[in-house]
Amino acid sequence: MKAVRQALAILSLALIPSAITAAFHPRRPGWTEVRRGEVSLETVRNWGSSVLWVDARPAEEYQVGHVPGAIKLSLENWDTDLPKFLDQWKPDQKVVVYCSSTSCELSHEVAERLKQNGVSTVFVLQGGWETWKGRK
């Protein structure tokens, strides 16, 4: 019981520097996740029709629903999906990759892979499919 009381005191005490960090730390994280290479849905909409959407989610999720016109390009089936992507991609097009949600890493991995394959204007949709579905 003594250990629990002490632990609660420590947990409370740690709140003080944490609050200072949240308020003043120069590298404090934002409450909305924006990572390098990510763009918001509003930004993509402002780009108009010159965007090529890429769905990085597994095939089953793509079948259930996807952004209209999006090309399926997953790491699992990279060799078969990439030629289909290249058929539709034009070098002056902006490519926007998405996966399930904010915490999903697939879109970043696919974007990185595309860059390695010479597709330079690649972005990742912030919030992924969930954001698109919520605001369409």
């Binding site: 005490l13 740690a14 520097p17 944490s18 590298r27 994280p29 996740e33």
Partner: protein
Amino acid sequence: MFIRIVLSFLFIFAGATKAYDPSEFAREIARYQLVPWTVSVLGAIYLPWLEMLTGILLLLKRFERGALLIVTVLLLVFSGALASAMVRGLNIDCGCFGRAFAATGTLTPLIRNLVLLTCASVVWVDGQQPPQNEG
């Protein structure tokens, strides 16, 4: 005594490396795909200080039982997250020491955590024993 000091310094060091760059630590937490981004942010802001505080208290032998309890719970939580990442086949780095070390994957940190849990148990049991009479 030695184990307690090692455990203390490891927690102080781990906390300090993460407290230096909470944004990066939030991204490390998010890569586990276990909690929403907001929770990752809260964890990134709070956990480094909790680690440092428990490490310092353990070192100073103040609130020792409470600090040990927190150390044990934290190690269990971290180990659970690492095991879950391994099971789901996530190719991520542990994020245990910020960017202080090169990427270590998940298996090595999981084994290290299990060793540290054993160390915490030893310190816990050692603290339960009555002091020996000298002379």
